[in-house]
Every structure is written in C-alpha cells, then in structure tokens.
Amino acid sequence: MKDLLEIRKILINSLLVLGFFCAILITIFFYFFYQSSSNDVKEANNSYKEGESSTTVSIRKAAFNHALELYLELENHFQPEFGNGKLYFNIANTYFQLEEYPLAILYYYRASALSPYDKTIQDNLSIALSKVHVQNKAEKTPFKTIFFFHNLLPLPIRFQIFFIFSLVALIMFSMWFWGFNKKLKLGALFFLSISIIMFFSLLYSYFLENPSAIIIKPTSLYRGAGTQFAKVSDIPVEAGSKVTVLQVDEDGEWLKIEENNTIGFVQSNSIKII
C-alpha cells in the first residue's frame, strides 16, 4: 500500500515538472512568434501610412505596393480565414489605393464576413463598389429572417458559441451525473440545445450553402464550361460583381455561377471565392 502511494506521489510530481516546462516552452514560442510576425506587420503598416502621406504618385505607388506585398505574405503564411478580418481589411485598403478595385472589393467582403458589424469596412466597401459602378445587393428572405443567427453571426463566432455551449453542457451533465445537483440537468439541456442549433448551422454552411464570389476581371458568361460554347449575353459580367458559385468543374478550370438570376460558366482565373 505504501509503495502505491509513493508511486502516485512520484507520478504527480513528474507531471507537475513536465507541465511547468511545457508552459515555459509554449510561452517562449509564442513570444518569438509574436515578435517575428509583429515586425512584418509593423513594416507593412508603416509602409501603408507612408503611402498615405506621400506627395508624389510614384512614391505612393511604391509604398502601397510594398505594403501589399507584406500583407499578402502574412495572409499566405497565417491564413486568418477565421480571424477578426483586420488583415483582410488592410489588404483591401491597399488594393483600393492601387486602384485594383475588384480585388479590393473581394477583400472587403472577406473582412466583412468576419466582422459584419464593422462600419469602417462597410463604408470603404461602398466606396470601392461605387468606383466600379456595382451596387451592394443585400437581399432579405424569410429563411434569413428566421435563421438570423446563421447570417448575422460570423462563422468563427458560431464556432466559438458551439464550442463554449457544448463544453458548458458537458460540464453540467457531468456534475449532474455525479450527483451534485439535480437541477443541473435542465441547465445542461438548455446549453446542449443551443450548441445543437449552432452545430446544424455550421454543417449547413459547410455542406449546403453556395459560396459567394467576386468577379475580379470582366468576363463573359458561357453556356457551357468552355469557350467553344455560346455566350449567354454579349454584355460581360462587370468586375467587382458579387455572384453565387453553384458548381465547380472537376479540374477547377470553370465555375458555374449565378448573377442577377442568370446562370452561366466563367473561367476560374476571372473569379475569386470570398
């Protein structure tokens, strides 16, 4: 019996020491990671500011181009698809300053998807859309009204809600299970139901929802996946237009899209998914 107690004591002590070292290593890693990334971020921010304050077109262009290069490198490295959208907003601003309005619109939409209530993003998006003479279409449907949380809450927030509510439900169920308090079961069921709603909302987003995309260069809509097919209309789809992607062909070269209730195919190099 004594041996068992001693083994248990040694095990606990070892775990404590290991945990301590792990905590130190993680802290060091995050510190250096933060330092290295923040240097690039600072340089990009400064370059953008320099572009804003420059007095000649050439200096401004050079500064914005440098900022864009750094921001795109950061985007490529970190891929903050579930972040707060600030990096996307900065990229969009830089594209705007370089008069690449369709790409600016694309990144404003990406930022807006992550921070839908940010007024600055919405304001800049409106200006960018006006530059390419495209209107911001926000359609209201009964589905969207009923499942408001699905459209109003950004994807990462829905993930967080799902995770926290699931975890709380699990803890409460566990406590009820071990006989702490019988009323805990009701609370656990409430949290579980919210997390189930979020779960289905997330599954819908992943499996059923058609992604939106931005036309980055004017292109014709074809009746089939190839230039040998006839054009749906002589008038091309304007750059900066927001469209719905219905299908992507096997080799990813052509996308079936819907734009203003017109369905057609466009080449993948003229469109980017938000």
Binding site: V41, V57, F159, S166
Partner: protein, 570 residues
C-alpha cells in the same frame, strides 16, 4: 527567223537546264546543239526569269570575266496575275577545241543586283559526222518537252514563312504522260496552303503549263525536293484512223531543289513577336468606331501594315495579351483575316470595352523579324483616347446620357505626379494577434463532439467502477470486524459489538440494507437478513438473560458462514 531560232534553242534545252534560285530572279543557260564539233561555232540561249519592273542590263553580261554579246529574242509572260516574265537571249561563241570544255558562269545585272549561272560542261567532237538528210516531216516537226522548277519568295526562309513553289512544263504537242514525279507540289515537311494552282498559256507553238502551290515552313532544316521529272509519249493516227505511237519515252527532268528553313534567333526576341517576317514594315492603328461608348459596346480597330517588300508573312499581333488590354477589352473570338492591297495589309479587329477604367486604346506593339538585317524590329502604335461609360439602366437614362455626351466636351484628365486625396478610411493598426484565427473559432472545435461522447462514456464507467470499488472496500470492513471479534474474549462486550458490526456491515456491502447503522431489530425479516436478525436477537437475549449456553467457536463459525453466504452474492 527570230522565232525559228528561238524554238530551235528551246528544242535542245531539255537536257541542259540549270536554274539558279535567288529571290525572284532565275537564270539558266543552254547550248543549241547536243553534239558540237571542232571548227563549228557554239550557239546557245540564256534566259532570265525576273520581275517585269526589273531591267536586265544586256551590256553587263559577262562570260566568266569577259564581256559576252547577247541578243534579245523575246519575253514570255508566265501568268497574267504574276509580275514575272522570262526573257530569252541568244549568244554565239567561237569554235572550241575537241574534248570536254567548260562554259564559264554567265553573269548579268538584273535591277540593282548581279546574278550568275552555274558553269556548264559540254563535249566537242573531233571528226565531223556526215549528218544524213532528214525527211521532210522531221524537218518540220520535232517533239519538245521541258520541265522547270521555280520558287517564288526568298530562301532560306524562317518557320511560319510562306513561299510559292512549282513547275513550268513547256511542250509542243499532246503528250500521254506515263510517269509524273513532282515532289515540290507534294511539299513534304511543309504545310500546304490551299490547293495547287494550274495555269496554261500558249506562246506561238509552245504551250506553257504552270503548276504551283503555296507552302508554309513548319520546322527547321534542309528540305531536298527532286530531281523531278515527267515521262511521256506522243501518239498520232495512221491512215486507217487508228492510234499510232510516234515518239516514246520522252523524258523531261529538272535537278533537285533544296529549301532551307531556319529558326528565328532567340537573342533579342521581343515578347510580342509571333512570327511576322518582313523588311521595313510600317505600322499604324486607327479606331474606326466612335471614341465614346458604354461598357460592353463594340469597337473596331484597323491595323495597317505597309512595306515595299513582301507582306504576306505578316501576322496580326496577339492583342489580348498586350499590356493594357486584359481586363479592359475583350477581343472577338474569330480571328480577323488580313486584306492584302498591293503593299498594304489591313486587319480589322473587333473588340468590346469591358470597364469604365479604360481611358484609351493602349499602344500596340508589333514586332517582326527582318531577314536582311537578321534582327527583330519593334513598332509601337500611338495610344488612342476613348471614353467608356457604365451601361445605362434604362432607355431614358441612356438617352439622357447620349444628350449629355453630345452637349458636353470631353475633358481629358491632366497627367500629373501630384497625389489625389485619400478617399477611404485608413487601415487598422494590426499586430501579431490579429493574424491568428479566433480561439475555438475553426472547424477543429468539432472535435468537442467525440470528446464529449467519450467523456460521458468514461464517466459512466467510472461511476460503475466507483460503486464496485466502494462495495469491495465495505466487504473488507466486515471481515475486519470479524477478525477483531475473533481476538476478543466471549465475556467481553467488544466481542458481541464486533460480531454485530461484521454481520450488519456485510448486509450493507451486499446492498441488502442501505446503512450500516441499522440495529438487529430493524433488519428485514426476509432471506438472509431475517436469518441474521434472528441470530443477533437470539444472541442478545441469551446474553442479557445470563444463560450464555452457546460456544464461542460455534458463534464465530456461524458468523463466518453468514459472511461467506453474503459475499457469495456480491
């Protein structure tokens, strides 16, 4: 007399045909007779194929290094559509010595350049043969068949360049051709453009049939065609009106022709180069439609190429890939066909404006390879300003816009290096944490589902285990009490207390009672608990009555028996 001489010269030219290809000018020389004899002057004919505009300078004719007097016979037009003519000249040389002799190269100035024939070998025989008198029919009629190959266009040529090749067949009767070998028309290794072209014309009694084919060079190398030949026979009719062979196995042959195709040099090749070849080409672009248009409207550009030289090898520049075109203009899918008007080649290119940001037709770069200088040359057109407006939503708006365009003068933006005011709100001063995805904000959080299920299952088993473990611990307690009872004396009150505790604890361990603080009277009457209740009540009665008739060993045995029975149930 002149005509006679001309045809007699042509008669023997079947066997002596040495064309020299150099651009459009070709020279050949033939001697009048197959057999030449000592003491007999040599006569021959010398023909020059050239452009009608180029003048053949007869005073410049040299035989080797010495001047040669030639006499013009006549010009023969090859084709009414072709500027080429063949000029025939006759010449005479003094008698030569017996044996094999060489006729040196004959050179002549045609236009601004000098051209030469190949040296010609001929035999002069010593004894003069007695020529038998010819029959009347042979005097008046001799079969004549001659084959000549030609190339229109400059050689060597480059990949993608086009030339016209073919044959000229001279004959004076109706031939039944038994064998035809004309490899230039087949043009293996080249791409044939269109069908072969056949033209026929007659000059006095000689018929000339020209067969030619346009070809395009596909790959580099030396392509040898020939020798080419035709073999035929002449038939006539006898007195009974039946077909009768008059001349058999008449063969006309021309030497092999080599066409060299070169690759374009890699050094200095411009990005816009797409295979155009020519010399001193000028390039001009004009907008043929209105300069004010809406997004999606069609506009037409006219690209004009001018050169004094050949323009058939000019190709339309790839407009879709020129700087300033992608994203701004969409060029029509159907490639335009160039209109060749003498020395001017015109392409009309249709396109649509795609964006309001298109403020001009960008400068178009046209590059071509100049074979004369062996260098690439680049021409750039001027920018053409245009105004592209967004497409009006309805008719009234469209009309309004048209009226506005009519009334207003177009104000061109000033070109300046001054910056415009910033129109949008500035960036967020982000830091390293803004680059991260939100914690628990990604698809990875779905891992919580299997984790929760696992946690619940684990807890369920833990709870079960806990119950079992507690029971086991309790079982150990009843045994402990019994052990203590065994040590005590029967007369001591602890003996009864431990015995009591051992039995009641064992009932609790088995889950028969809920608490071990039960008194013997409170125990259930049924089953083993009833038996224990009776046993303990009896023991208590005996103990307090002072009778104490029981044996200690017996009591312990009885208690052990109860414990074994209860633990067997656990």
């Amino acid at each position: 007399m002149t005509f006679r001489c001309f045809f007699s010269v042509l008669l023997i030219s079947i066997f002596f045909n040495f064309p020299l290809f150099s651009g459009d000018v070709q020279l050949s020389v033939q001697l009048d007779r197959k057999e030449n004899f000592v003491g007999q002057p040599l006569s021959g004919i010398f023909n020059v194929q050239h452009n009608r505009e180029d003048i053949v300078d007869t005073n410049s004719v040299l035989l080797g290094k010495e001047s040669l007097k030639v006499e013009f016979v006549r010009d023969v037009t090859i084709d009414t559509n072709s500027p080429l003519v063949v000029s025939f000249y006759k010449f005479q040389l003094p008698p030569q010595e017996a044996g094999t002799n060489v006729l040196p190269a004959i050179s002549v100035k045609v236009g601004d350049e000098i051209y030469k024939t190949q040296p010609l070998t001929y035999e002069v025989q010593a004894p003069i043969k007695t020529i038998p008198p010819e029959s009347n029919s042979q005097k008046t009629y001799t079969p004549y068949l001659k084959l000549e190959s030609f190339i229109e266009g400059k050689v060597p040529l480059y990949i993608g360049q086009k030339i016209r090749v073919g044959y000229r067949l001279f004959f004076n009767d109706t031939y039944d051709l038994d064998e035809i070998v004309l490899p230039l028309i087949e043009a293996k290794g080249f791409k044939k453009i269109g069908k072969e072209r056949v033209n026929e014309f007659t000059e006095t009694r000689i018929t000339v049939r020209q067969i030619d084919q346009e070809i395009e060079a596909l790959s580099t190398g030396d392509f040898i065609f020939g020798p080419s030949y035709i073999v035929g026979a002449i038939y006539g009719t006898n007195v009974r009106g039946k077909k009768q062979l008059i001349y058999n196995n008449i063969k006309a042959e021309t030497p092999a022709v080599t066409i060299t195709v070169l690759d374009f040099p890699k050094q200095g090749k411009p990005t816009s180069f797409n295979g155009s070849v020519g010399e001193e080409i000028s390039f001009q672009v004009e907008l043929k439609t209105t300069s004010s248009l809406n997004v999606g409207d069609k506009l037409t550009l006219q690209l004009q190429f001018t050169s004094k030289n050949d323009i058939s090898n000019i190709k339309l520049p790839n407009l879709c890939c020129q700087p300033g075109f992608p994203g701004m203009f969409q060029v029509d899918d159907i490639p335009p066909v160039g209109k060749n008007q003498r020395n001017i080649l015109i392409f009309s290119v249709g396109m649509r404006a795609l964006s309001t940001q298109a403020t001009s037709i960008p400068s178009i770069e046209f590059s071509y390879f100049n074979p004369k200088t062996e260098r690439y040359e680049i021409k750039k057109s001027k920018q053409i300003p245009i105004v592209v407006s967004s497409r009006p939503q309805n008719k009234s708006e469209s009309k309004k816009q048209e009226q506005q365009q009519d009334s207003e003068q177009i104000v061109w933006p000033e070109v300046s290096n001054q910056t415009k005011p910033i129109e949008i709100k500035t960036i967020y001063p982000i830091d390293g944490w803004d680059l991260q995805n939100r914690y628990f904000g990604t698809w990875k959080v779905f891992m919580v589902v299997p984790f929760a299920v696992f946690a619940m299952i684990l807890q369920f088993y833990l709870l079960e285990y806990k119950k079992k473990w507690m029971r086991m611990n309790e079982a150990k307690k009843s045994q402990k009490y019994l052990k203590k009872a065994k040590i005590e004396n029967i007369s001591s009150s602890e003996f009864y207390l431990y015995l009591n505790l051992a039995l009641i604890s064992s009932l609790k361990e088995a889950g028969i009672i809920l608490d071990k603080d039960y008194s013997p009277q409170d125990l259930p009457k049924d089953g083993i608990s009833g038996e224990i209740k009776n046993f303990l009540t009896y023991l208590e009665e005996q103990r307090f009555s002072g009778k104490e008739t029981y044996d200690r060993k017996e009591l312990i045995f009885e208690a052990e028996n109860f414990l074994n029975r209860i633990q067997g149930k656990i």
